[in-house]
């Protein structure tokens, strides 16, 4: 992130949205709305005074609501660019006309309540789309009890809980009673590989569940992890070795199964009812915390963006590409990489990002000679 932020050839427009794209490969005109932060970007040093003093607390989106942030805030601490933003919807001044505490305490006089959204026009030869994914909301999958039972969380929430800089300061405390979670159940394919929800496989969850279980053990040697999986997918470089390490060195138990339902006992311990698909018998397991590996889905705004860009989506809702031109969208000069075009892990996304960069460079450097036949 820092590298991109520092590169002299990269002009970073954060907190901005593409409004329209006109033109063709080699010559696009892009209109971008740069949203008002109500903070002067060149003055703000992200010293943190304003968020310390701001009286309004709201649930922190970055921590999946497991912590609080202020109405003036940084999206996350190491974010680039490090500039505070006022969340207009929650700011007292914008709703009641009174407060301006942040303004009073800002030594750099960077607060600017009069700032307006800015419309920027860019010209570019090629466009790379790398908008990533959303996490599937598993609330309607009532069998898992997400939203009903406090101790059933999603994998991304777990990542925030166990993060040393997260809302629990890296201690794996479960939401219901702040008790240290020692017995953990990870449920795979939540909302995926199912015709009712998302028919595809998210491709990264088997590995991240293993990583999360390892982290649990590293945080607390008493931690015991059970991973309830459908098929164990560890196809990347070194992945099988990683799984083996998980089993042998971290004592992770992998259970081939189909989870039918989660219930809760009086102490709010989730009970996982599952069919062991090896022995075809119904079993149950009481745990302290359940981590759901929910599907990674196309972003909610993907259809809107597709419309703006004039590109197509595939039947799963990802930006459509041909299998053998994996970074080319349906429109010349517009390329994609990463999860927004379909499930990929980090190294694959990194490799594909370079690929998309190559395709974009091809348009710009080869000019009208646009080379590879697609």
């Amino acid at each position: 992130m820092m590298e991109a932020g520092r590169h002299p050839n990269i002009n970073l427009l954060a907190y901005s949205e593409v409004k329209s794209v006109k033109g063709k490969a080699g010559d696009f005109t892009v209109k971008v709305i740069k949203k008002a932060r109500y903070v002067n970007e060149t003055e703000c040093t992200a010293c943190g005074k304003c968020f310390e003093k701001c009286p309004k607390k709201v649930p922190n989106e970055f921590d999946m609501g497991h912590g609080m942030r202020k109405a003036i805030y940084l999206h996350f601490p190491q974010g680039i660019p490090a500039i505070a933003t006022i969340d207009k919807d929650n700011c007292f001044y914008f709703s009641t006309g009174k407060c301006r505490v942040c303004e009073k305490f800002c030594e750099k006089k960077a607060i600017d309540f009069d700032q307006k959204d800015e419309l920027i026009t860019l010209r570019s030869g090629a466009i790379v789309v790398a908008t990533g994914f959303d996490v599937y909301d598993p609330t309607h999958l009532t069998q898992y009890g997400y939203g009903k039972y406090k101790n059933v969380i999603t994998a991304l929430e777990y990542e925030r809980l166990i993060c040393a800089f997260g809302p629990k300061k890296g201690e794996l405390k479960r939401p219901s009673d702040e008790k240290h979670a020692e017995v953990l159940g990870y449920i795979q394919c939540v909302g995926s590989r199912s015709l009712k929800d998302n028919r595809y496989c998210s491709s990264v969850c088997c590995m991240h569940a293993t990583k999360e279980a390892m982290l649990a053990k590293e945080h607390d040697p008493k931690a015991k992890s059970y991973i309830f999986y459908t098929d164990f997918r560890a196809v990347g470089k070194g992945f099988q070795k990683y799984i083996k390490r998980g089993e042998e060195d971290y004592g992770i138990k992998y259970i081939r199964s189909r989870v039918a339902e989660i219930t809760e006992d009086e102490e709010k311990n989730p009970i996982i009812w599952y069919e062991d698909t090896v022995s075809r018998s119904v079993k149950r397991k009481k745990v302290d915390l359940v981590v759901l590996a929910t599907t990674l889905v196309p972003r909610k705004d993907a259809p809107a963006l597709a419309k703006v860009l004039g590109i197509e989506l595939d039947d799963c809702g990802f930006f459509n590409t041909d299998p053998f031109t994996p970074t080319d969208t349906t429109k010349k000069g517009i390329f994609v990489c990463g999860y927004c075009q379909g499930p990929l892990d980090i190294p694959e996304s990194v490799a594909q990002a370079s690929a998309a960069a190559e395709r974009a460079a091809d348009v710009i450097l080869a000019g009208s000679l646009c080379s590879q036949e697609r």
Partner: protein
Amino acid sequence: MQHPTNTRTIRVLCTGQVDPTYVLKALKNGADGVLVIGCRLGECHYINGNYQAREKIDMTKIMLEKAGISSKRVEMRFISSAEGNKYIEAVKEFTDTVKSVGPSPVRSKEKCESIKRILDALIAAASEFRLRAIVAKKKKMIEEGNVYNEKIPQEEIEKVIDNAVNTEFVRKLIVSCLKEKPQSCMDIADKIEVPSALVLSHLSYLRRKNIIDVDRVKERVPYYKII
């Protein structure tokens, strides 16, 4: 990932640059043990630095044993950067090993002087051309052979290294004794606990190399000094 707080890390780009003198200096400065950690064998990010380091660490361990210092104080492990747990394990195990050997004699009042002299002699020996050259050539001599294209069996070359370590170490000890004051062969032999005949042969070598000379002869016993 929690582990004891007793480690101090020195960053090097590759274990290939860990010189035996670094390890010995650490011990001389009072470290109870030195743990050298490189990539897993076969996965060196600098191609073969960890294999190279292993040769050097093996030699360092031989040196310590010769000097009566437990070689358990030095260890090399091969752990990938993704294996945090193995690192922790290694640190814990090594801490236990070193604890079983006991605190560094450098920090004990009685032994401090003599042990520092021994370590200085080892550092000097590890800086010696012949010893460094043999260790550096070891792999090539086993795999490709010497200048006469004779492949040297591993045991043989290890014997050569063993001998060279011994020789260089004793010579450096003698030199360090003589640095204090001129002494006779018997004095030196007593002090460094090496048979006098052996000391004598080293003395004549050192004299030939113009490192020492006879200071005076008292009651037909020659006393040597550093030149």
